[in-house]
Amino acid sequence: MFLRRIFNNVPRYFILYYAMIAFWLGATAMHIPDGYLSPVTCVVMFLIVLPFWVRGVQKLRQKMNAKNVPLIALLAAFSFVIMMFNVPIPGGTTAHAVGGSLIAVILGPEITTIAVSIALLIQALFFGDGGILAYGANCFNMAVVLPYVSYAIYQAIRGKTDVASKRTVIGAAVGGWVGLTVAAFFAGFEFGIQPMLFHTADGTPLYAPYPLSVSIPAMVIAHALVASVVEALITGLVVAYLQRANRPALEMPKQEQFSPEAGGFAKWRVLLVILAVLVVVTPIGLLAPGTAWGEWGTDELSSLGLSFIPSGMAKLSGLWSAPMPDYNLPALGNANLGYVLSAVVGAIVIAIVVWLFTFLLMRGKSKSAGEVSQKS
């Protein structure tokens, strides 16, 4: 069979390697321990998160008054407990969710930042899950990026529809998936810049040893397939359950005025800023000296010192020629410009695909909903 032939041509240790990385990621779900990031990175991450904490604490103190002390405590405890729920995912394994997107959907991202940060602090101190110096980085990935991205996507997909609508559920699930995947991208980015910036005189990496070309695909792919799926399942299914069983809980933001007023451009702003940052940081990949792990062409393999090219690979390499090989447009003549353009084009293509997918999904749903309402 065709697939089996490809499989047989992949060296065994590739499979072993990716299986191990996926296993580790599934098991730790992004809690970065101490020793992976340099103290300098930790301080920078801490400084990046600081304004979000200040904003959250200010809200706690003024606008949200004393009533919210127990609310935050309970939500943090909930986030902690939800991180212990092992959920079976299609494919036969289990993984656990972070719960950040669920709390964001119910109470808005500002509150979620505080609640998840507190859950993470207790995990770091009490279970040794996630480092103490790396706390800022963990908070940035799971308590800032995850809820803000999830919430922006949830709002965008849900639009102005009712809390009981299908779009609410779909928005929550898609938000959870994208939110955790983007968070995984940032975690991979934090790992990947370590060997570039921090190494000994002879080039030995002092912290996480893998370059961006390895760490980002490993984190993003493993999360997109495992942990993000769980986050999406938990967020979507819980919202669907609350629609059936406990609607007041879902409507809480309206009553308590928790959620920021998001309308028009505002609801897209966070998402756009993050996308812009992603596109801008893309050229950092150019600084990485190596070639993308596991993405070598036959010519690159021989330049890496491999004395022979597996015959199957030599045969298969002619099968597919990408429109933008190596993320570069040959016609442009400038590799860096091509790389950035590739990032922009990639982001736009993905945005269109997601939008089309949601649009088609929504059309089907609203049609069937319309039929039901006509019948009744």
Partner: protein
């Protein structure tokens, strides 16, 4: 005939695994508090000194460019554990199980894919490079020493004093209050979740499909969330009726003794020396 013959693909269901996780969490918390109340070196030190000392030692471990310095700091953590009467093998097992399983797996491929001079030539043309070996050791040592130090300090400090000591780092009072309450409600919610799963488990006759298990997980999480929101408003009413005005008060006051000063000085000297030696 065995009616309850196990399924061919018998694997413990999600409910069981979650129950195991929850019970494990509860056991660990009891273990932690028991150790913190024993007699020992670290248990007798002021919690504020310990918070600063922990940060200094972690910084030293993570700033060092020398494997020997990191190993020395790890040895110091082991010595402190012995002097604090932490059950030694359980402590070693707990810290190394984590490091070896997770960081070991992450560090392993670095042995082979980091470019550098050849160190070991294995059969099948597999080459371990010197650079790869050193970077893997760095990752392993650093994570091992960091986890060992952090676990030791947290094990020997009662949760309440640890929280209060966070004040020296200028963590706002509101956050410390919330942290304390969160800790209590984790216990409550864990018990609630445990009860919900147990009640469900006792009514299961056959193996649940994955889809059913997912629905059960979502329903449990949803109910738990609704309960959390409900409890939070009840708790607020209770707090308000007892005179809560939005800021916390505590009775316990810290007092520095000469042993606290001595321990603090030793740690400052040790970590400064370590950072200087490991430049």
């Amino acid at each position: 005939m065995n009616i309850a013959a196990p399924h061919r693909r018998a694997r413990s269901g999600f409910v069981e695994r979650t129950l195991v996780d929850i019970n494990h969490a509860l056991e660990q918390s009891i273990f932690a508090e028991r150790l913190a109340r024993q007699q020992g070196l670290l248990q007798g030190i002021d919690a504020r000194v310990k918070v600063i000392a922990l940060l200094l030692l972690l910084l030293a471990v993570n700033l060092s460019h020398s494997l020997w310095v990191i190993a020395g700091l790890y040895a110091a953590a082991l010595l402190l554990a012995l002097l604090s009467r932490v059950p030694f093998w359980a402590y070693l097992k707990r810290t190394w199980a984590f490091t070896l399983i997770f960081t070991g797996i992450v560090a392993l491929p670095a042995l082979f894919i980091t470019p550098g001079p050849v160190w070991v030539h294995l059969p099948l043309d597999i080459i371990i490079t010197q650079t790869g070996g050193r970077t893997a050791l760095f990752l392993l040592f650093r994570t091992g020493a960091s986890v060992a130090t952090a676990v030791l300090f947290v094990l020997t400090t009662p949760w309440n004093s640890l929280l209060k000591a966070l004040g020296v780092l200028h963590v706002p009072d509101v956050i410390i209050l919330v942290l304390g309450m969160t800790y209590r409600y984790i216990h409550l919610l864990l018990h609630t979740a445990n009860d919900m799963f147990l009640s469900r488990r006792s009514r299961i006759l056959k193996r649940m499909t994955d889809a059913e298990e997912r629905r059960l997980a979502a329903a449990t999480a949803g109910t738990l969330l609704a309960k959390s929101l409900q409890i939070s408003s009840d708790v607020y009413l209770a707090m308000e009726s007892q005179g809560f005005r939005g800021y916390p008060r505590t009775l316990e006051t810290f007092r520095m003794r000469w042993s606290d000063w001595c321990f603090g000085m030793v740690v400052v000297l040790m970590s400064t020396a370590a950072i200087w030696l490991g430049r």
